[in-house]
Symmetry: C2
Subunit: 275 residues, 2 copies
């Protein structure tokens, strides 16, 4: 099986590593140093920066930041045989699915939920997807065979596959991923002089702000692409903060305790092991 | 050495366990079931709910939620010999230090930064303080001998002791502990129906919201006690969110990327290992 992987960053290179020995990978990346590294590491069997290298492949995976995926599909498609299954690995799905489906019927979006704060080829690892969820987001007209091919691909890398409507996916991700990242990024705006107290920055702060080290370009694209859901949640969140502010300022101990208890119970119910 | 520990929750009982074999602990807690458990476990050698049990001790530690510490000191002090060193373990320091110092010259506040989301006697452990910071917050007139006694006590439990002014302590904690908790609590307000997607709630969300499971009474007291710093930071934070909102809504990709890069760099510089 020949698979073209466009983008040899964290996700693309981890996919290539995970498929080692089971597929022949063509790696396409505009950064030829990265292509060279992947060749030397044996992660890809051929590669370069030219999309025409994908010619003859059995399936193709675009693993680029959300803002670059549709353009990359446009450059890639003229070189693919009709009916070649195509997917992407972007963290938002509705717009990308809508735009690529109109160009290529055998497309279905994927979202392997397997990111980490480090990005790029050097952070890639063969077991990145093992035991982690992957959401596949078919449209109304996506061929079953195309869904099936990518379900098999991700499961062969150890992913737990869930099928979900692209719009529902984006709404869910806004809550569980995009907002936590946005709120964690913003909290760095308060952290100006903290370096002088480095020894005191214990576990709570460290965990809470860990995702604020994430890649700015990737998250710029995600926030812009999913702005509808993100802005609505941001307004809800600021309203929630306003309620807490009022309880603290009014020194309403009973009301504040009740609200904190509600939050705490929601969290405990989500993760019953309370970790 | 005889030490009275008032409050046998996570901090008080962990201190008693950590001192096992090196001190004789009198445990005072209004919950007699907990006192009974601590007796049976050999964590304390005597105990009950009556502050007069502290009579004759060489030092005393009040390990109660922030809102109960000054009252507990008021009930305890009539039973202590003059010059008995007294500390508390509250997460806020300025008000408590001011109020107790006026009653008892040989008082100095402590803040062992060793909390976790679970609270109460059953969560206590002898190594809770090992390798963790502990801040001691003397006032202008605190006797050096009193500071020295508690520095020794915490160091003997494995803590790394830092000395800091109580007001500076509260300002710092508002940024690195109180705000992250408040923001994490509030994010549960967006999490209404997430239980149906439990399998997808991966590491980013889990870490970001972990501290939202914390004890509501403890945090109610902290937010109210440190309201000055917390409300100011809350306003700063909402302003920061407003700036991000504007960049997303105006689709200012360059501006958004620049801001995210600033945040990401602050985080990376704080934790140079980038974890």
């Amino acid at each position: 099986m020949k698979i073209a992987v466009i983008g040899l960053g964290l996700i693309g290179a981890s996919l290539a590593k995970s498929l080692a020995g089971r597929a022949e990978i063509t790696g396409i990346d505009r950064d030829l140093d990265v292509v060279g590294m992947a060749m030397r590491d044996g992660v890809i069997s051929r590669g370069g920066d030219d999309p025409s290298l994908a010619r003859g492949c059995d399936m193709a995976v675009i693993a680029l930041p959300v803002g670059s995926i549709v353009d990359a599909a446009g450059s890639l498609l003229p070189h693919l045989d009709p009916d070649t299954p195509l997917t992407d690995t972007g963290s938002t799905k509705a717009r990308i699915a809508r735009e690529i489906e109109s160009l290529w019927p055998c497309f279905v979006g994927s979202h392997p939920i397997a990111g980490k704060e480090k990005s790029g080829y050097c952070a890639s690892q063969p077991d990145l997807f093992a035991g982690r969820p992957c959401i596949i987001t078919p449209g109304l007209h996506t061929p079953q065979g195309c869904i099936h091919r990518f379900r098999q691909l991700w499961e062969s890398c150890g992913s737990h596959v869930t099928i979900m409507d692209p719009v529902q996916h984006d709404r869910l991700m806004a809550v569980i991923s995009h907002m936590p990242h946005l709120l964690s990024f913003a909290s760095m705006g308060l952290a100006g002089d903290l370096h002088i107290h480095r020894g005191l920055l214990g576990a709570g702060f460290k965990d809470f702000t860990r995702i604020a080290a994430s890649d700015p370009v990737m998250w710029r694209d995600i926030f812009l692409d999913n702005s509808g859901h993100v802005l609505k949640l941001l307004d809800d969140y600021v309203r929630e903060l306003g309620l807490i502010r009022k309880l603290i300022e009014g020194r309403d101990a009973a009301g504040l305790e009740e609200r904190l208890r509600t939050y705490s119970n929601i969290r405990r119910n989500l993760y019953e092991d309370n970790q």
